[in-house]
């Protein structure tokens, strides 16, 4: 059966040992599916058990969440799916959902007598595979096995796409530890890092998987501490060692933290993917911001939730933009940051295919960072929040709420830059500044836009709602338009973007946001940076990698912007699951933008932007990254560039840049680092 094959392949995922278990039942699948049902009401529990048995499943019932968790921990591969009630006395169903997702990564179906939209949404955003309303019909249970297969298939695909999800995850981790500071190696960075990461990864892997150390049980409290520590450090700076120090738990080893961190990232990624599947970004992106709340905590999860809910996207986007922009100003540094960022994100972005793609990846990552940057605190949070997505839906990377941190410059650029830069660590302040100006606008505008675009793009995986690109855009469009205008003004700014690797990314981000707003598309201006983001979005495997181009706010922005926005958001959000589809349209614009960027004459910038994007992308999540890099800028519509002109050209340019930079992190070949190299 396909199931079995899928199952077999799934085992690569470190998080699910169940896959292997799955193989055993593949013969009579779905009969024999091992279900764990948790409900505090004995009547319901009894009925559910009976119904599940009638479906030929193997049922285990618990009436308490803690019991269920301990059963799951004792026998990690012993269950295929979990059915849980929402209202339980000892633990909230959503908390249980989170735990299961983190520790065991099993599909979880929520149940409740409550059919209020908010609650259902919460379930979706927390990563539930499905939400059943009581009274549960047996027909609904008959379909349970589909969730198992679907989940496995997705994970497997993710694995494949990223080339090595685990590696990807690990890399960032590793990089955090080791290469953080030296990520600036150009060219070799990626390679060496990867090697190092791999080594370390394997070590860790060994530690976690083969070593029979006394298993650490990640209790709720422990996990809270972990999350708090990660949030505090910032997702991109969240190195196991530092987390360990912050947590200050006796007996906890760095390996424990590292493996948990990895799983957490996977979880976030999954969340964004799940949310993407579930919500499919149908939620409106309306720039509803309020949910955005704290930027810093947004992280991918928020985005995801946003995406899921569709509400946030706009906000998150805006936030992201803001965050990104903020970063830009704050950081203006540099290429190095980019690299670092890349490192961080690299784990997420599995493949940076081309320079452009890489940028996207970078942007992804960076986006995540960028977003963080803007609010200044977003960086770490963003990443972290990504993981935590479910928590603050609004937050999603958008943490940018401070919209205007940056100045009212054309946000698009700023945003892009900000986003990228932030993440990248202030790639080029110059760019940042310029972008910042934009960003403010973008943030305000972009937010909604971003959220839209980004949500769609990013959220796919990490739950960045942004992917939702959809309808929400309307809000942003107006916003984006602003930037767009500026974009034209910015051209000058754009350049600086180019110089600053980070910046360019940011800009692209901003641009993307605009792109996202689809409306903006026309306005173009965003551009290139979007490309970077677009990549993130992955929607289209087109090579959006240029997204980082951000600099090309000019005309290309329009088309790019859309994409850029998308990309931006994605990258910014670090969304793992950029909705590839969405970006396509956006990518185009981004591509155009990137082209425009190049046209502006700064190939480097573009590259850097791309790198940024890529970087971001990488960061964002394997899923997203993959998409991004793939995204090739489609012939962006009309704006400036008639089409990607030469994405190939751009790519090569980027590649060159990147090479010097140090191929980044995961799959990118040239990663956003090229931005670093960009001789400003």
């Amino acid at each position: 059966m396909n199931v079995s094959s899928v199952k077999g392949s799934m085992s690569i995922s470190s998080s699910t040992s169940t896959w292997k278990a799955g193989d055993t039942i593949s013969d009579q699948f779905p009969a024999g599916l091992r279900v764990l049902v948790v409900d505090d009401d004995p009547t319901c529990l009894m009925i559910l058990e009976k119904m599940l048995i009638a479906c030929l499943y193997k049922v285990t019932k618990c009436n308490r969440a803690e019991t269920a968790l301990s059963k799951l921990r004792e026998n990690k591969n012993g269950y295929d799916i979990v059915l849980s009630d929402v209202h339980m006395p000892d633990m909230d169903g959503f908390k249980l959902l989170e735990h299961i997702g983190l520790e065991m990564d099993l599909p979880v179906i929520m149940m409740s007598a409550d059919d209020g939209k908010q609650v259902v949404m919460k379930g979706v955003t927390h990563g539930a595979c499905d939400y059943l309303i009581k009274p549960v019909r047996i027909e609904a249970l008959k379909n349970l096995w589909q969730h198992v297969v679907r989940k496995r298939k997705n994970e497997w695909k993710e694995f494949e796409q990223s080339g090595s999800v685990e590696e990807g995850d690990r890399q960032p981790k590793q990089s955090d530890d080791a290469d953080y500071s030296s990520s600036a190696n150009e060219g070799n960075w990626k390679g060496s890092k990867r090697r190092k990461d791999e080594e370390e990864e394997t070590d860790e892997r060994d530690d976690t998987s083969t070593l029979k150390k006394p298993r650490v049980v990640w209790s709720v409290e422990l996990h809270q501490q972990f999350v708090a520590a990660v949030n505090q450090l910032g997702i991109d700076k969240a190195v196991p060692k530092k987390i360990l120090e912050l947590m200050n738990v006796p007996g906890l080893t760095r390996e424990n933290v590292a493996s948990h961190l990895q799983k957490y990232r996977l979880y976030l990624r999954r969340l964004s993917g799940v949310s993407q599947h579930q919500s499919n970004l149908s939620t409106i992106i309306s720039a509803q911001d309020p949910t955005f709340g704290s930027l810093s905590s947004l992280s991918g999860l928020d985005l995801q939730t946003l995406a899921a809910t569709g509400q946030l996207p706009a906000q998150s986007l805006a936030r992201l933009q803001a965050a990104g922009l903020g970063r830009a100003t704050a950081k203006s540094a540099v290429p190095i940051t980019l690299v670092d960022q890349r490192n961080i994100f690299s784990f997420e972005n599995p493949k940076l295919r081309f320079g452009e793609g890489q940028q996207q990846h970078m942007t992804n990552k960076q986006q995540v960072n960028l977003l963080h940057g803007i609010p200044t605190t977003m960086e770490p949070k963003q990443l972290v929040s990504l993981r935590h997505a479910a928590q603050s839906v609004g937050n999603m990377n958008m943490q940018v709420p401070p919209h205007g941190p940056q100045s009212s410059q054309n946000n698009p650029l700023l945003m892009q830059m900000g986003q990228q830069q932030q993440q990248q660590k202030s790639r080029g302040q110059i760019l940042v500044d310029s972008t910042i100006n934009h960003a403010p606008r973008l943030s305000s505008m972009g937010q909604p836009i971003l959220s839209n675009g980004m949500a769609t793009n990013v959220s796919s995986r990490s739950g960045i709602p942004e992917n939702i690109r959809a309808p929400g855009y309307s809000q942003t469009p107006s916003m984006l338009n602003f930037p767009m205008k500026h974009a034209s003004e910015l051209p000058g700014n754009c350049f600086p973007l180019g110089s600053t690797p980070g910046v360019s990314n940011l800009t692209s981000k901003g641009a993307f946001q605009e792109d996202v707003n689809s409306e903006i598309k026309g306005s173009g201006g965003f551009m290139p940076s979007y490309d970077v983001f677009n990549d993130l979005n992955q929607h289209k495997p087109q090579s959006w990698e240029l997204q980082n181009v951000g600099i090309a706010f000019d005309s290309s922005q329009h088309s790019n912007s859309l994409q850029g926005n998308l990309d931006l958001t994605q990258s910014a959000l670090g969304q793992q699951g950029f909705s590839s589809g969405q970006m396509n349209g956006h990518n185009r614009s981004a591509a155009v933008a990137s082209k425009a960027m190049f046209s502006t004459g700064d190939v480097k910038e573009l590259r850097s932007a791309q790198n940024v994007n890529q970087h971001l992308n990488n960061l964002l999540v394997d899923n997203t990254i993959r998409v991004k890099s793939e995204r090739v800028c489609d012939t962006s519509p009309a704006n400036i560039f008639p089409d990607h002109f030469g994405q190939d050209d751009l790519m090569s340019a980027l590649l060159k840049q990147q090479e010097s930079v140090a191929s980044s992190e995961n799959e990118f070949d040239f990663d956003g680092y090229s931005m670093n190299n960009i001789p400003v």
Binding site: D41, P42, T43, C44, M46, I47, M51, A113, K134, P135
Partner: protein, 146 residues
């Protein structure tokens, strides 16, 4: 024949529940889950349901007498009742639960008290109808075995 007569009686009782909408299709679904290996499944479920729901109602009634009234607690229990009543197909009881919850949600405590009275009435009536039904069924199956 006696058993036939009882059989008809049981069938008539059952049909009346549906006619009066005391029970809904969920009940039929539960019946379908019954099989040779567990012929008394539905009865077991209802036994459990009555046991828990009676306790829930009593808790709610107690809670409504305290001052100040802990509406959160009351709402939680009502939510529980909602889930279990829906799962067994107790249609009218479910309706009352929903009505009361709505009133409580609006902050209308007096209205809630009245709602709970209604709920209690409906529940008692439901129990009074179903219990003899199951007893009859049980007696009949035992008789048939003989």
């Amino acid at each position: 024949m006696e058993s036939k007569h009882v059989h008809q009686q049981i069938a008539a009782m059952r049909q009346s529940f549906f006619d009066e909408e005391v029970l809904d299709e969920k009940f039929s679904q539960l019946e379908q889950l019954e099989g040779k290996d567990n012929p008394n499944f539905v009865e077991e479920v209802f036994t459990m349901y009555f046991r828990d729901s009676t306790a829930f109602l009593e808790t709610i009634e107690q809670a409504m007498k305290t001052i100040p009234i802990d509406s959160i607690k009351v709402d939680n229990i009502l939510h529980q009742l909602k889930g279990s009543s829906a799962s067994v197909g107790a249609n009218k009881v479910l309706k009352e639960v929903n009505k009361t919850r709505q009133v409580l949600g609006k902050g209308n405590l007096e209205g809630t008290k009245a709602g709970i009275l209604e709920l209690r009435k409906e529940y008692d009536s439901f129990k009074a109808k179903l219990e003899p039904y199951f007893q009859l069924k049980q007696a009949n199956s035992v008789a048939q075995e003989k």
